[in-house]
Each structure stands twice: as C-alpha cells, then as structure tokens.
C-alpha cells in the first residue's frame, strides 16, 4: 500500500479514527454531568449508564430481551427477504408481471412500516405474529426493489453470450442472471436488515411485553433513564454488528465484484 493516508486503509485509520468523535462526545457528556448541568433523572452520566448496562447484562435481563428481539428479527427478516427476493426476481424477469403489480407496489411501498403496527395488532393481536409481520414488511421492500433493479439492469451482452451457446432458460437464470443480480441483492439485504431491526424496536415500543424495545419503554414508565439509555445504546450497537456481519458475508461471496468494479473504473 503505497499511500495509506489516501486509501484510509491503515489499521490506525480503520480502527482508531472512528473512535475519536464518540470519545469526545462521551467526555463532554460526562463533564457536563459532573458539573451538574445535566439532571440525572433526565439524562444520567455515561458512567452511570455503563454501570447499569453491566448490571443488566450480569442479571441476564438484557440478554433475554435482546435474544427475544433478535429471534423476532430472524423470523421476520427470513420471511420478508425471501418473499421480496422472489417477487423482485419475478418482476424483474417479466415486464408483464411487473406491470400487473406496479400499481399495488407503488401504492403500498411509501407506507412507513410503523404505520402498519396498529392495523396488525388489530388483526393479529399483540403476540409474536404481528411483530414478525412488521419486521417482514420492513425487510421486504428494500430487498424487492434492489433485486428487481438488479435483474432488470442485467447487461444484455452477457445474455447474448448465453444465447449464442444455446443455453436453456434455467442455465441463463442460475449462471448469468442471478450472479449478476447478487450485488444488488446484498444491497437490499443490508438495507432490509437495518429496516427490520428498526421495525422490531418500533413494534416493541408500541405493544409488547418483552424485547429490547419493551425494556426501554418500561424503563421510561418506571423512571429509570439509565436503563433507557443503556437500551438505546444496545440497539445501536446491535445494528452496527449486524451490518458488519452482512458486509463480511458480502465481501466473501462477492470478491469478484469489487475487483470488477475497480477495473471498470
């Protein structure tokens, strides 16, 4: 690496640089608390939050709630992305099918996931079903749109190569169309997972008796701002880790793509 400073790839830049701003914020926040500018009943100090966080982890309360939320995400994300990918593929492959569904998707897509929650509770009750559905809806749209665009945007030149070699429709799909849409699928999965995570917390905030969102809401009701803040922090951290996980998977599966993009300039 001749110019590490320009690439932003040295380990200093990768691991240490991102920590500066959070550290600064924490120090400032702690100082304000120490100086008495922040009331602990409204915004407890970072150290107090950290202590609470440690206690919540030790007692098993936080891991339990987090586990419940994650399990919901797993189910909803699985359902939502599967349906989104299949429908996106079908719409991308068939302009007729796309036309057929265009009004429905155009109408439903702008509705924020959160707006579905009251209706879903009415139809499905407060239990797992409604929450999993909300998550599925959250993950569904980004995957649908990205897969659709990925399939539609396939380079016709590649398909011509397949046709000259007299490949059947199945081979064209598996060996050409799907691989070339894979980068878009991953974009959809990343955005979808973020949406899914945001949706579960949203659903739990509104109606639940377990999960990380519920933990925060309950903490507010019983005036435990430190628990509230610890919960908020954990939501962010979990989202970050999930994104990193999916990025890692993408890097592994799409090694060819990065190099290809770079070559094309």
């Amino acid at each position: 690496m001749p110019f590490p400073g320009k690439n932003g790839n040295s380990s200093f830049q990768r691991l240490v640089l991102p920590l500066f701003v959070p550290a600064l914020v924490l120090v400032f926040w702690q100082a304000m608390s120490e100086l008495g500018y922040l009331r602990p009943s409204i915004l407890p100090s970072p150290l107090a939050v950290a202590k609470t966080l440690a206690a919540l982890v030790a007692s098993g309360e936080l891991p339990t709630h987090l586990g419940i939320s994650l399990f919901r995400v797993l189910q909803g994300f699985g359902i939502g992305t599967t349906l989104g990918a299949l429908l996106g593929l079908a719409m991308g492959l068939s302009p007729l099918f796309n036309r057929f569904l265009s009004l429905v998707t155009g109408l439903l897509r702008p509705i924020p996931t959160i707006a579905w929650i009251p209706a879903l509770i009415l139809w499905m009750g407060i239990d797992e079903g409604s929450k999993v559905t909300v998550i599925a809806v959250g993950a569904f749209w980004p995957v649908l749109l990205n897969v659709f665009q990925g399939v539609r945007g396939i380079d016709r030149k590649f398909l011509e190569v397949g046709k000259v070699l007299e490949k059947g429709p199945w081979t064209l799909l598996i060996r050409i169309i799907l691989p070339s849409a894979l980068p878009s699928l991953f974009t959809g999965l990343r955005v979808g997972l973020g949406f899914a995570w945001a949706s579960v917390v949203g659903a739990e905030l509104i109606a639940a008796s377990s999960g990380i969102g519920y933990m925060i809401m309950y903490a507010r009701e019983v005036s435990q701002p430190d628990v509230m803040m610890a919960g908020v922090f954990v939501i962010g951290l979990t989202g970050l880790l999930m994104d990193a996980l999916i990025l890692r998977l993408e890097r592994r599966l799409l090694r060819w793509h990065k190099g290809w993009e770079r070559e094309k300039g």
Binding site: K157, V161, K163, V164, L165, E166, R175, S180, G259, W260
Partner: protein, 254 residues
Amino acid sequence: MKQSHDRLTLKGVGKSYPLATGPLRVLEGVDLEVEPGEFIALVGRSGSGKSTLLRLVGGLEEAGEGEIRLGERLIRGPGIERGMVFQEPRLFPWMTARQNVAFGLKEGTAGPQAGRTVEQYLQLVGLEAFGDLYPHQLSGGMQQRAAMARALVSHPQVLLLDEPFGALDALTRIQMQREILRIWGESKGTLILVTHDIDEAVFLGDRVAVLSDHPGTLREVIPIPLGRPRDRSSAEFGRIRTEIFNQFFGESQG
C-alpha cells in the same frame, strides 16, 4: 472448430434499423459464399456494418431482406455450431477463466472428459496457469484469449470473430494472429474474422471481403493467392495490400 462440410451462403442480405428519424440502412444486397473450412477476413470502415453482418450470421439479429444458410439450413437464431467472439471479451466477471471457458461447452456436458477439454483449450490459448483467476485479474489480451477458448471448446463449425485483437498492442496482436492461424489450421473449421486492419486481413484471410459503408455493401471479395506462412514484407503481399487500400482511398492516394 469442427471439420465442416456445410457451405455458408448469404444471398441478398440487407438490414435496416428503425430510428426515430426513419429507417437506417446498414447493409444492402450482401452476397457471399463461404466454402467449408475457408478463412474470410472482413474489412470495412468503422460503422460500415461489419459487426452487424457477423451478428446476422450468428443469429443474434434478423435480416430484413435476403437469407443466410448454413448448408441447406436457414439461419433463424443463434446456435452453438456458430461460435462467436465479440468485439469485447464479455467474460462473466463472477466466473474464473476456467469456469468461463467451461461455460462454452454444450449444455449438459460434464464429467472428467469435459474437464480435460477445458484444460486443453486453456492451454491452446496459453492460459493454463491462469485458470483460477477472475477476469479482472487478467490483462486485456488474456481476457480476449479466454473468450476465444470459450468459443472454441464446443468445436463450432463456423467461428465468428469480431475484431478480437482490436484492444491488443502490436506485438501481442501479431502473436495472436499466428495463434489463430494455428488454431484454425488444426481444426479446419470455417472462420470469419472482422478487422479494420488491412495488413491483418491480408496476412490471415483466404479471401478478404471489403465492405463499403452507408449502406454496407460488399464492394469486392479479393482472393489472397499466397501460401502460408505469409511474409508481410514480400512484394506480392504489398501489392495486395495496396489494392485493398485503394478500395478505400482511391487510386490517386495509393
């Protein structure tokens, strides 16, 4: 390429593209008979319809007028007996060089024999050590050679090459010209190679087909009565080159 006994016949072939401003006539009245195992070099200016003509033979476009036959059979669409190497390599970026070459095999071909065939063709184009690399890890010339191997593994009767050496430097180009002659010599299939390099056309072709432009018509098909290997510096070579050059720029400037 396979020993082929089918003559390729183009009769009154014409092609127009519908544009907003009216139809654009690209090819008109192209007559050409290509003997089995013959090497045709097709030259013409940029935009004269060389790629279009090749795509018609490849079955990727439909001719508006006239007909194209391979043997008795009318060409209506693409077929694996007509291999094609495009103007750009068109390797699949998600496949290694080896997988790309293997993709050229006939649908349903698999097993150790298929694997050996793929290796054989990787070797033929000098990529045996690079089979596991992805296209972006290959040089432009290597990519074009891999594309060539992909078109060759299925032993097409007719091989259509659209300026396969266009992106190569002069040295690699000359080396690739020798390679293509060797590959063609080993298989004795029919070969049509598009180029805008007159020197290349005279060096390679049994006959050189000259395409005029707007609309593209076959101006002349010039037989090259030279044995192989050809000597580019010989007087006869120079005479033929000048003759073709004059087709484009007129006698006065020859």
